[in-house]
């Protein structure tokens, strides 16, 4: 790991160019260096090829992990990629973004004793990147069924669903609100996880199969209605994700200097020039998930001098894993646990500090303040089903769609997956699985 460059004595307030572009580019280098050929083979040889492998059981998409690793060991990375993509068409993104320490690598039998797990994520990336680079074609479309399916949202769930449907011989139209495909892969993951436009490369790979038309800048409930879609398609899949960030409900949260962490990350991902993204000198990120980590680390990489994640509970309760917490700490992010924000302190209408009280549950705990000219809220995103304009027909829990094991909603002919459904874990890999399961079930339903 390279040492990161830090800014010193920069201006207060939210400002661009705390570091120059070269320094930013260097700071935003790859989170984990990809494996080279021989290193991959050596690492692959470490896999015990377990029976009924725990890693496969832990993978939401059920990738045959020992199977693909054995192929890498025998110098067949492309074959390995085929095995991966068969179960998870976004194997490339998942290899970069999955919290492997809580999934496959977390249950690797090599964790026992003083050993370390096989680096499954890096191996998966090695295989998929190699295959994508070579432009290998893994899929072909079944005989055309003449059916048309509408997919709302070109994120992981939607694209996964669209791909499987296309393989099964259906035509798919994907309606995407934003100008680019990929959903959170494109707009929501930290830049250092998804270098070199990987989300777009992956989308191109997925759509290169044919049979998938993506209509951008089309918002459900505004540019097109659910009824219209139901009318012109044989089935619908909703992968609409979530809406805006949740509110803290404390004084000062709408002031200048306070922003949504998701929007901050979005800006970072869409800019052509990292150094042009404004960041505070002293940044406080409120929350405990991966978005909080991604926002805090990237604020540091842009040149913020002090970055603190404030979380209302303890380390174990954090949605971000211990590994991610350590990752942030190594990059100079402080994490304060058991602190509850009570107000954003303002001067001349701009944030200057966040006031906290110690202990999430006690109203009379100790109070203190952390100076902050930028406050990023990362306490989860709320649902935006209302946008669909037809909240009525769906059974929901807390604004999220209730689905059965086939990802079918309470509304006949409509399936859903990804972050917009109830009971999910907000992971890319789970969204991909939702899309795959739904596609198989849609196919079954349409074949009756």
């Amino acid at each position: 790991m390279e040492l990161i460059t830090t800014a010193h004595n920069g201006p207060s307030g939210v400002a661009a160019e705390r570091l120059n572009e070269a320094e930013c580019q260097s700071n935003f280098c790859e989170m984990h260096a990809p494996l080279e050929g021989n290193a991959a083979r050596v690492e692959a040889e470490r896999c015990y090829f377990c029976f009924d492998a725990p890693c496969t059981e832990a993978c939401p998409t059920g990738i045959d992990i020992p199977g693909f690793i054995r192929m890498i060991a025998s110098g067949n990375a492309v074959g390995a990629a085929g095995l991966i993509l068969e179960e998870n068409i976004m194997g490339g993104t998942c290899a970069r973004a999955c919290p492997v320490e809580t999934l496959c690598e977390g249950v690797c039998v090599r964790n026992h004793g003083d050993d370390r797990p096989v680096t499954i994520g890096l191996l998966q990336r090695f295989a998929v990147d190699d295959a994508l680079e070579q432009g290998t074609r893994f899929f072909s479309r079944n005989e055309q069924t003449g059916k048309s399916i509408g997919v709302v949202g070109a994120g992981p769930a939607g694209l996964s669903c669209a791909h499987r449907l296309s393989v099964l011989g259906h035509d798919v139209v994907v309606y995407e609100a934003r100008p680019k495909s990929g959903g959170l892969n494109e707009y929501g993951l930290a830049a250092y996880k998804m270098l070199n436009g990987f989300a777009q490369r992956e989308t191109e790979f997925i759509t290169s199969l044919g049979g998938i038309e993506i209509v951008h800048d089309t918002i459900l409930g505004k540019d097109v209605s659910l009824e219209e879609l139901q009318e012109c398609h044989d089935a619908l899949f909703l992968g609409i994700g979530l809406g805006g960030g949740n509110r803290l409900g404390i004084p000062g949260e709408d002031a200048e200097g306070v922003a949504d962490a998701v929007a901050f990350i979005d800006d970072l991902r869409q800019t052509d020039k990292l150094s042009s993204v404004p960041v505070g000198r002293q940044v406080v990120v409120i929350g405990g998930g991966m978005t909080a980590i991604d926002a805090a680390v990237q604020a540091r990489l842009l040149g913020a001098e002090e970055v603190t994640i404030a979380y209302r509970r303890g380390t174990d309760a954090m949605k971000a894993s211990i590994v991610e917490q350590e990752f942030a700490k190594i990059r100079g992010v402080s994490i304060r646990y058991w602190v509850q924000p009570s107000a954003v302190r303002l001067e001349e209408g701009r944030a200057v500090a966040v006031e906290f009280q110690v202990g999430a549950d006690s109203a009379d705990g100790e109070k203190f303040a952390i100076p902050a000219d930028m406050v990023l809220k990362a306490i989860g995103q709320g649902p935006h089903l209302e946008r669909a304009g037809s909240v009525g027909p769906f059974e929901q829990v807390d604004g999220r769609l209730v689905v059965d094991e086939n990802r079918q909603t309470s509304c006949p002919g409509i399936w859903a997956g990804g972050d917009c459904i109830a009971g999910g874990d907000d992971l890319t890999v789970s969204a991909v699985q939702d899309g795959k399961v739904a596609a198989n079930n849609i196919h079954q339903a349409l074949s009756l």
């Binding site: 021989n38 050596v42 040889e45 015990y48 090829f49 377990c50 029976f51 009924d52 492998a53 725990p54 039998v109 090599r110 026992h112 004793g113």
Partner: protein, 436 residues
């Protein structure tokens, strides 16, 4: 430190570790370095007869079989005997022996199967002051096609004949180096003894084709799109060498014939095993060629500590101590019964034991216990074959438990290993006899 001094057919050396006749012993420069590093002796790379020097390929002459992490498991070469002038080699041998009087210096020889050719070279070698001769009847490539090397070693009559010439025309001890590319190693060894040889050394390299290049579809190593078979050695051949060495050690017709063991010896453990199976000393090549001469340090210290731990006063004290444990199948005790057992505290639950037993053996390991991932032995099916133990990645997790005075639940029979039952007396053997 235990005393590692050895006396092999009258040749003394400070330790039993010699470098085998091969590239590491081709010239004074290397041999000096070897002796500085602490090797007990060398067998100088094979000399041929005087005349135009041998010509080697200028393409690759080595190829390997890699294991995990590119460690070298097997090694193959198509190099010929020394390609330096005979006179230069003899001159260097003389100087080395003068400079290193306490080290063993044996000269390997390979000349055409004619009495005059052998007679001529023997006297020249003797003039160098070298300690002994090793007759290269083993090289399986290049020279064998010219009627030398393995071509001699594969015909016991030739082995006997040449050994006899050497004994007749030289006063030096004669070690006959045997090729493993034969059906029964005892035949050439007996022939060597009949010819008067003082000792045998084995094994030379094994005929091998290393690999095929899957891009060019030609074999490796490739010399201008062509390749040829070569001699195989390195760690992978050790079990074959152990078998051949021990087979001679227990051959009544070879009784007392000293053996210099060669074949995949990489560390003191390998060396100890060969000594225990009857070798009087050991020769090393591949390990040095893949790590340099410094590896002898581990061999010296390791063997010395091992001997101390086992109270062996000298190397000769341990030679052959494991030979009595080697027998033929029909003499094994069929009443000896073991069952696999799994230490659940050590088990990491990889399931390899289960799947290999389930797919390829006796279906004797359960994968689930009350729905949980837990591997347990089903003693009713376990035959104690050891497959599960060999694939378990955790040391001492899977072991074999010896049954004693208890019923084998697989057969329903009481197990009493003390009552030995050999096949020669087994009721199912129609040829059984009461004498065993």
């Amino acid at each position: 430190m235990s005393d590692l001094k050895t006396n092999f057919v009258g040749i003394e050396s400070p330790n039993p570790f010699w470098l085998a006749s091969a590239p590491p012993t081709d010239k004074a420069y290397n041999v000096n370095r070897a002796f500085e590093a602490g090797w007990g002796g060398v067998v100088w790379k094979t000399l041929g007869e005087a005349g135009p020097p041998i010509v080697n390929v200028s393409g690759p002459r080595y190829e390997v079989l890699h294991g995990n992490d590119r460690s070298v498991i097997g090694f193959n070469n198509i190099e010929l005997i020394t390609d330096r002038p005979l006179g230069l080699n003899l001159q260097e041998i003389k100087q080395i022996k003068k400079d290193w009087p306490d080290r063993a210096l044996v000269v390997s020889l390979m000349v055409p199967c004619q009495e005059a050719a052998w007679k001529s070279i023997l006297s020249q070698v003797e003039d160098t002051g070298a300690d002994g001769l090793e007759l290269n009847f083993g090289c399986p490539h290049g020279m064998s096609e010219r009627g030398m090397g393995a071509a001699v070693g594969q015909v016991p009559d030739y082995v006997e004949m040449v050994a006899a010439w050497c004994k007749e025309y030289s006063r030096l001890p004669v070690i006959v180096k045997l090729t493993p590319n034969v059906t029964n190693i005892r035949q050439p060894a007996r022939a060597a003894r009949k010819g008067g040889a003082d000792a045998v050394s084995l094994i030379n390299t094994i005929n091998s084709v290393m690999s095929v290049d899957l891009d060019s579809l030609s074999i490796n190593p490739t010399i201008d799109a062509m390749g040829t078979h070569g001699g195989y050695c390195g760690p992978a051949v050790k079990p074959i060498a152990l078998h051949m060495v021990s087979d001679l050690a227990r051959d009544p017709e070879c009784e007392g014939l000293p053996i210099s063991a060669i074949g995949g010896i990489s560390n003191w453990r390998d060396a100890a095993e060969f000594l225990l199976l009857g070798a009087g000393n050991v020769q090393v090549c591949t390990a040095a060629m893949t790590h340099g001469f410094k590896i002898v340090d581990d061999m010296i210290v390791g063997l010395s500590r091992f001997m101390k731990g086992k109270s062996f006063a000298s190397v000769s004290d341990m030679v052959g101590r494991a030979v009595p444990s080697l027998t033929d199948w029909q003499h094994l005790n069929l009443n000896y019964t073991v069952k696999a057992q799994i230490d659940q505290d050590l088990c990491i639950k990889c399931g390899r034991c289960h799947i290999v037993c389930e797919d390829t053996s006796h279906q004797a390991i359960y994968a689930r216990h009350n729905g949980e991932r837990r591997y347990e032995v089903n003693e009713e099916e376990c035959v104690g074959c050891n497959l599960c133990v060999t694939v378990c990645p955790v040391e001492n997790c899977l072991t074999l438990r010896k049954l004693e005075n208890e019923v084998d639940v697989r057969t329903g029979q009481m197990v009493s290993p003390a009552e030995k039952l050999q096949w020669t007396r087994h009721p199912n053997n129609p040829m059984a006899n009461a004498d065993g």
